[in-house]
Symmetry: C2
Subunit: 108 residues, 2 copies
Amino acid sequence: MGTTKTDPFTDEQNKIAIITKALGHPARIAIIDHLLKVNACIGNDILEEIPLAQPTISQHIKVLKNADLIKGTVEGTAINYCINEATFELISNYFKNIAINTIHQDCC
Amino acid sequence: MGTTKTDPFTDEQNKIAIITKALGHPARIAIIDHLLKVNACIGNDILEEIPLAQPTISQHIKVLKNADLIKGTVEGTAINYCINEATFELISNYFKNIAINTIHQDCC
DNA sequence: AAACTATAACGTAATATTGCAATATATAAA
DNA sequence: TTTATATATTGCAATATTACGTTATAGTTT
């Protein structure tokens, strides 16, 4: 145990869970927010924004990359990261759909 | 360690992280999906949908409730759960906003 | 080449999560 | 009051996550 069971669930459910799980940490939300704020790619300037150690941030970036939430291209010694639109569109649509289907629930 | 640091982040970042973290498990996505499908409240019929033990599902429901994603009202022996619109609207707007602000990123 | 910069990888301690069996609680029905 | 039904709590073992010091890698500059 401690391991998440994935086989009882659909591919889409697992996919959404992977994405939301990857976003489920304030540092990773802060990284996304920063990427949006500078509206472009960044290298290690996240270190100046978030008071966590470099290896910790590197680890968080890895989590976001594994979930396809961000992508990066090598730029000299630095790496330029940016939002992966496709994944955010997917998750955005998922929630938009829920919002639409939830409007007329008046139980509870 | 093992504990998430919250003080370096804004209230909104922490709030979004709490919500996405709560959604970051396929069983919990499946519960939400089921609530949407039956478009109403349910009791323990989730047990017939998801092949996990009752205590496990009860625990997942607790996580969703703690994050304000669902709410429940007692109905005899059973409990009627349903989507908490407000929280889903909040998270939906967060992603909608990202989608809008990401359109013209053409780096990476 | 040597020094510097940016990032990743490794190792580790503390804590959290997952899944379940067993048990508890609470309302309803008989 | 006994029995059944629905849900929650507890306790536990396995595994995952978080955070970071240290070390490695790789490109850049001098």
